[in-house]
């Protein structure tokens, strides 16, 4: 439970950064931090205390090992979500670099063509 709350705090640090910082790179940093936190949360949820990693080895009985493993589903799902996070980050960085090329700044208070 304490672990979950700490992890949520980690998430909220990122959200705070996205909502309050006025620099494009900082906003991307905030997005990355929040993604990390959600991925971590997924793995925390699947952890089994004193469990072993879900990879079988040849010298033990399968059923015995299966009873002492952590949950493999969150691991599989987190792999997918890490990749999705990377894809989003790459696209955001590309947009940010284009914006920098046009405006010569990363400060979004100076990038205001649109009214909102």
């Amino acid at each position: 439970m304490v672990v979950y709350v700490l992890c949520l705090m980690f998430f909220l640090v990122g959200i705070y950064c996205i909502l309050r910082k006025r620099n494009i790179i900082k906003i991307i940093v905030g997005v990355i931090i929040s993604e990390y936190a959600v991925n971590l949360f997924f793995l925390l949820v699947g952890y089994k205390s004193s469990g072993r990693s879900p990879i079988l080895c040849s010298d033990r009985d399968v059923q015995y090992m299966a009873a002492h493993m952590v949950d493999p589903l969150p691991q599989a799902v987190v792999l997918t979500s890490i990749v999705i996070g990377l894809a989003t980050t790459a696209l955001l960085v590309a947009i940010a670099m284009r914006i920098y090329g046009k405006y010569r700044t990363f400060d979004i208070t100076k990038i205001r063509e649109l009214k909102g």
């Binding site: 998430f11 959200i15 996205i18 494009i24 906003i27 997005v31 929040s34 993604e35 959600v38 949360f41 997924f42 949820v45 589903l73 969150p74 799902v77 997918t80 979500s81 999705i84 894809a87 989003t88 696209l91 955001l92 947009i95 940010a96 284009r98 914006i99 046009k102 405006y103 990038i111 063509e113 649109l114 009214k115 909102g116």
Partner: protein, 502 residues
Amino acid sequence: MKPGALIIPLFVAIPLAGAFINSVIGKKNKAISDIIGVVITAVLVVLSLLSVYYVNQSGLIPYSVGSWKPPVGIGLVLDGLSSFMLVTVNIVAFLIALYSVNYMERFTAKFRFFTLFLLMVAGMNGVVITGDIFNLFVFLEIASVASYALVAFGTEKHELEAAFKYAVMSTVGSLFILLGIVLLYSYTSTLNMADMAVVISKSGFSNIIIFVTVLFIMGFGLKAALVPFHAWLPDAHPSAPAPISAMLSGVLIKSLGVYTLCRIIYNVIGMNVVISEVLLFLGAVSMVIGVFLAIGQWDFKRLLAYHSISQIGYVILGIGLWTPLGILGGLFHLLNHSLFKSLLFLNSGAVEHATGTRDLKQMGGISEKMPVTSGTGLVASMSIAGIPPFNGFWSKLIIIVAAVQANRYGYAFWAVLASVMTLASFMKVMKYGFYGKLRAGLESVKEAPFYMQLSMVILALLCVSGGILLLPELRAMFLDSAQTALSQGTGMAASILNMVKI
């Protein structure tokens, strides 16, 4: 396996194959990517009509990917609501692909446009047919990532800025959704939506479910641009190229925001009075604030974008009423809105294509020069304003009648008020934009090219004839089956799981 189950994965596989092939061979020859884009979306339209037929034949059709039975594997589900959304998405996508053949000549790298477009269609179809909550998230991200790139496709200053804003806010929405999925997984220990619904309905409504619901409403509300979360939409939708504006306003915010929200709230978490009140409130606020903000706009596309917020408010209001008639009205309005709003954006694109401006003050009197564009624009404006006998009238009428029947007179009043304001706003568009005296400097304006005209005319015909969906036979086939899928609520889960076991 039920008949018709085999076509379900094709809704994703065909556009994906098209996108991959397009990115290899489309660079050589422009015509190839046009053909791939149009033919594939046309095939998808046929498949989606076929899916309506199959759903009416055999009811709900589950499919297990890779023969792994849910909840172990990923289950796809085709029911009335899915086939309804598939028809909406694919018809609009087909017409927009047709329109883009001419329109996107103005942009470089057309084959990349069609690749991203097909990926977006694949993402939306994937969201609609899936029965697994994490799979829903993955396809939601495909459609979102493709749409970020498409909004910035022109690579001008304001387009990049709008795309960045949209991408960040939408990513925050995705993160909230993913956090909600994590909590639900921990609570129910499954990712299959039907299985989840069974567990949740057994355990009752606990604090964790409330928290998850709040996260989902925030996340999907960001995707659907409900009012407190709408700030990105008036920038992103006008900045995109016109076909993409039509796609985003027409179907993307619906399949990623509204469909997912009501699917999860009705069929997974289970509707209750509190959620219904929240949805009604959000819907009414979006409806009224969207239209008030729209009235003051002089940029044609920006005005349309604010109207999208307002019309999404109607849909949410109808669905939030939690009565069969309300849900039916909301879904019917969703279909109608995707038709007339994409038509309006295509009109604005045609005008911009011909005159180079989208400022209403600099347009004027172009109806003489562009009869097809302004004629179809008139049809769409009357539809959105709710003038009989166009389709928008019927759906708004149903929503208002449903609100009155549910004793929600206040909300019915706001709906009528927003409708009147919409009418006023579009009177302005017609007066300044299309009719009146021809403005100097626009004498040499030409009508839009053939494919653009064709897709606008087809959409206008659909808008005029939309009302026939309310005829009893058609209604039972199409709208009612979509509505029952939602009204069944969490009861649907048990029947899915039963069918899978056999």
